[in-house]
Symmetry: C2
Subunit: 208 residues, 2 copies
Amino acid sequence: MSENEIEELRSRFAREAMAIMERRGEEVNRAKLASELNIARTRVETVFPEEADLLEAVTGEWFAPKLAVMDEVMATDLPPRRKMYEFFARRFLLLRDNFKHDPASFKLYVEMGERYFEYAQSYIDLADHYLCELIAQAQAEGHFAGLEINQALSLINQAVLCYIQPYLIAMIDERLTEAKLAALIDALFDGLQARDSDARGNQSISSV
Amino acid sequence: MSENEIEELRSRFAREAMAIMERRGEEVNRAKLASELNIARTRVETVFPEEADLLEAVTGEWFAPKLAVMDEVMATDLPPRRKMYEFFARRFLLLRDNFKHDPASFKLYVEMGERYFEYAQSYIDLADHYLCELIAQAQAEGHFAGLEINQALSLINQAVLCYIQPYLIAMIDERLTEAKLAALIDALFDGLQARDSDARGNQSISSV
């Protein structure tokens, strides 16, 4: 098989594996995939030399639509605040649709994501890379004053974590709304900066 | 046995059950508790008439120190911003200590918390009740302008979720710091209010 054919099969087999997982409610390995598709195991192994390659391909298929909406938002020329909102909101709506459409499969993917976190890392890294761009654009307009980009990145990710983290979307779904996400993004744009913290103060009462 | 004696045994048996769970790394029911303590099962059943009563008592013991630090903070006369920071920070430090001291047991309690969420509800409700008080104090000083207390409650809980949610503390522990928590509380005090959202805008690009 040519590299192109293998690439095409990798994507097709990954989607087949996802369909099987969603139907059976459990993880699928190469052996199960071959028997469910009624093809030779060696054929599956040509496409996925290791079990890890199947997992990586499934992760890629699962993330593809989330990356597509991020790409779409990054390509717009919206002002930074609107852009950052859409960057999170569109991904959130997609994740919530996934969850509502099939909660059991969504939870299965969340569990797999916890077990095979390393395969998701490159997607998380790309989302962070995009967010850094958005932060730089916002800083050029005076927001997040005095913060290093990586500090702002971490703080913003933490503040909206329940809108991007699949586990939390499944858990507190009914409390999450676009209006609340917008209020949080506005609060960050208006209030997040490097400062002597009034919240933390000079003295902690921790020693009381 | 008198009601007092039963109350005392309930707390003692719950702590024994926790010690056994932490040692064995798995949940304990009334039968296991009786055999581990080498006492008659009927004695355990006098104290915990239902399995649920044991779970409820364990939940209570687990939450007791977290409630104690919240009570301590509420009793201070710190200004609202400092007070809200300490309200979250002290609980966060306690949870992080629990996690670092014994990650496996911490994760066991997190899993139990997910399965038996109803027993934790009264503690979460109490924390929310306290936070509403803090929000009212902050609003008297002009913060969170125009927001209903319940809106502010939900938004603040979401923004600092990773500092109060045990699952997240275990998962992203190394990214959580008191300085970041303080920066988020400061951003909320300075930026969170009812407003026409610039982030959300009038038109969404969702339809693009």
